[in-house]
């Protein structure tokens, strides 16, 4: 268990600045998610924490101790990658036991057995321990890979898109399990993903990363409800937040606002004639979603529909002012008008 602090970290590769002046404090026992598109610097950040990369500038602290120049093996971080790299010729038991038998640890065989069983139970793979790694399904293999990281009881878990190669159902199942395992073990987890659902469902706190810089850090609810910028607002939420031209809100809008954003679940269907009419493109009862268009702008509304609206038909919307977020031309959030 450990807290992690990054102080003024910069890392360049040739002309590319992968991480720029990063300041980050991750608490002991926190499930911390780095969310961003590919190339945002998420994986580089993870590798800097592990010590696989060294920063050009700045310091990495663990539990307050400067570990910037400490070798990876002595930082005691366990990595879980997207591609589970198991030893195919070993059984599940031996794969999980592997880190305990390394020359650095040399654990007593009875103790190895006890810990492997404990981890296997936690991950619901206790019945698979005697199988060869190659005889497992994708989900089971990733469980074993997570088990191999867990068994070490490291100070920190670093996870790089560990669920992204699994199919939707398995991903959902393992997501719940991963959170449960982390809560039970109290481990510090730094988790990299580009999947916002993983971010909001797993994280205690999220850092939104873009082009090597942190855009915002907060709990999933803080980031979802109070985004600092239009960019962050668009990072969370599925379907994505509606971005509407400020002209539609004349009078009820911040004078400097260029965009008005509103979450699809806050857009109401209106039966009054006062509002402009939109043309329905799509209406899905499963997603409880209607997509409609006016003057090239698409609006999404997430509602409980009793009946589907026919594509091509007309619909009117109400955008409740208390749910509207205002952004200036550069995408910075503006205070709501009073």
């Amino acid at each position: 268990m450990a807290s992690i602090t990054l102080q003024g970290i910069t890392k360049t590769f040739g002309d590319v600045t992968a991480v720029r002046q990063m300041e980050l404090a991750i608490g002991d026992g926190e499930f911390f998610v780095l969310l961003g598109p590919s190339g945002a610097g998420k994986t580089t950040t993870l590798r800097l924490i592990a010590g696989i990369e060294g920063p050009d500038h700045g310091r990495v602290l663990m539990n307050g101790d400067d570990v910037t120049n400490v070798a990876p093996a002595h930082r005691d971080c366990a990595f879980v990658f997207q591609q589970y790299s198991l030893y195919p010729h070993l059984t599940v038991f031996d794969n999980i036991a592997f880190p305990l038998r390394s020359p650095l640890r040399r654990t007593d065989p009875a103790e190895v057995k006890r810990r492997v069983r404990e981890v296997a139970e936690l991950l619901h793979i206790e019945s698979k321990l005697e199988r060869k790694a190659t005889a497992l399904s994708g989900g089971e293999m990733q469980r074993v890979a997570i088990g191999r990281a867990l068994v070490r009881e490291p100070r920190v878990f670093l996870m790089d898109e560990p669920l992204s190669s699994l199919d939707a159902r398995l991903r959902e199942e393992l997501r719940v399990e991963l959170k449960r395992v982390q809560q039970r073990s109290g481990a510090t987890v730094v988790y990299v993903t580009h999947d916002q659902v993983e971010a909001t469902t797993l994280a205690d706190r999220i850092a939104i990363l873009e082009a090597g810089a942190i855009q915002q850090v907060g709990t999933p609810q803080q980031i979802y409800r109070e985004p600092d910028s239009l960019h962050v607002a668009q990072r969370l939420g599925s379907p994505a937040i509606n971005v509407l031209p400020a002209e539609w809100f004349e009078g009820s809008c911040h004078p400097l606002a260029a965009h008005v954003a509103i979450r699809p679940e806050d857009v109401e269907l209106s039966h009054g004639n006062g509002q402009a009419s939109f043309q329905v493109i799509e209406c899905s009862l499963v997603k409880h979603l209607v997509v409609a268009e006016r003057a090239g702008v698409e609006v999404r509304s997430r509602r409980m529909f009793e009946h589907a609206l026919a594509p091509g038909s007309a619909v009117r919307f109400h955008f409740p002012p208390q749910h509207c977020l205002f952004f200036d031309q550069s995408g910075r959030r503006l205070a709501a008008p009073h």
Binding site: Q196, T201, E282, L285, V286, K287, E298
Partner: protein
């Protein structure tokens, strides 16, 4: 433009029955999705409509003409396997012209068609560009253009969006639907993805093990699933199922579930054993002691727009969609209230939907046979 009728279609591969005595009427101009898990027979059905497979028995008519044993070329139907296969070394115009030159159309006709398709898809300004330099969205439109430029009587699409990532797939669904609104060409679209099906379809045929279990509009499939398989296959998180503690008889308006009584729409059918189905969005969390059932919150997940709570009750595990402004916590004791009108009941033995006051008014939105 065409309507397609398949009647008692049957197809075996050795002793495996891929499609079992299936009938379906696809009306002119409709977007019809065949939906089901892999191996359910949806692709085989599509391939028989295309003429790539012949059935062992049954018939397929296209605008009243029997085409069951015609070769693909004689049917004037376009099969779209992968929307996104473009020739990267050729320009946009060449990519669009390619299928027409293959058919040996005269030059003025080719030019006319290209102009028309480019205008429908708003890609006129890209005709001189190379594929390599295009943005994702423009590439999609060009690929779509190449599929529609032949102007076939019907489009047959076999998981055309399967290889795209989730975000792109959603965008593409909207593009496809918009295009269908303009062209109104009969389309049969095969997928295992319920989101695609619900987003695109006028009508859906849900298949499993070679059989069409339900043919209806998306609303009918979602609200009145014909059997337990359809009920659990459609909807995410899936429908909750609770075991009913007694047989059911016509006229009943509540049923016992784990000692409690749950109000249901007035039942029209009879079953010795029944299962109650209710979707997670029709389960509401209320104060402990209220509602139809008592439960404890086991786990919650935050999705921004809502929470999903996993609940443990004496009748089993349920899931509920919870408003984003509420904050359920693990361990909370709550009551569960169900939206009565949206409860469906199934015969546990036959797995079929039981008729009730809610299903009475429902007319299937598609001819099944």
């Amino acid at each position: 433009m065409a309507d397609i009728r398949i009647q008692n279609l049957h197809k075996r591969f050795a002793d495996f029955v891929a499609v079992r005595d299936s009938s379906l009427t696809l009306e002119d101009g409709k977007f019809v999705v065949l939906l089901g898990p892999s191996g359910c027979g949806k692709t085989t059905t599509l391939r028989m409509i295309a003429g790539l497979e012949f059935p062992n028995s049954g018939s397929i008519t296209l605008d009243g003409q029997d085409v069951t044993y015609l070769r693909p070329r004689e049917r004037d139907i376009a099969m779209v396997f992968q929307l996104f296969a473009l020739y990267p070394h050729m320009g946009v115009r060449d990519n669009l012209e390619f299928p027409l030159r293959n058919e040996g159309l005269p030059r003025p006709e080719i030019d006319r068609r290209i102009k028309e398709v480019a205008s429908i898809l708003r890609i006129e300004h890209l005709l001189g560009s190379r594929i390599g330099g295009l943005a994702g969205g423009d590439r999609q439109r060009v690929a779509l253009g190449r599929a529609i430029v032949r102007q076939p009587k019907a489009f047959l699409m076999d998981e055309p969006l399967g290889t795209l990532d989730a975000e792109f797939r959603e965008l593409m669904c909207v593009e496809l639907r918009k295009l269908h609104e303009r062209l109104k060409t009969t389309t049969v679209f095969v997928t295992h993805d319920q989101n695609e099906a619900m987003a695109l379809a006028d009508q859906i045929g849900v298949m499993n093990q070679g059989e069409i279990l339900q043919a209806d509009d998306p609303e009918g499939i979602y609200n009145f699933p014909s059997c337990l398989f359809v009920a659990s296959f459609i909807g995410r998180p899936p429908m909750n199922f609770l075991k009913v503690g007694s047989g059911v008889l016509p006229g009943m308006t509540d049923v016992p579930v784990d000692g409690a009584h749950v109000n249901v729409p007035e039942i029209d059918g009879v079953a010795e054993q029944a299962v109650l189905g209710v979707r997670p969005e029709h389960v509401q969390l209320v104060a402990n002691g209220n509602g139809a059932l008592a439960a404890q919150v086991k786990h919650v997940e935050y999705f921004g727009s809502h929470w999903i709570a996993e609940l443990e009750s004496a009748a089993g595990t349920l899931k509920a969609v919870v408003d984003k402004d509420l904050r359920p916590a693990d361990g909370d004791r709550v009551g569960l209230q169900f939206n009565t009108e949206r409860i469906v009941l199934f015969d546990a033995k036959t797995q079929a939907l039981l008729p009730s006051a809610s299903t009475r008014a429902h007319q299937p939105g598609m001819r099944h046979g």
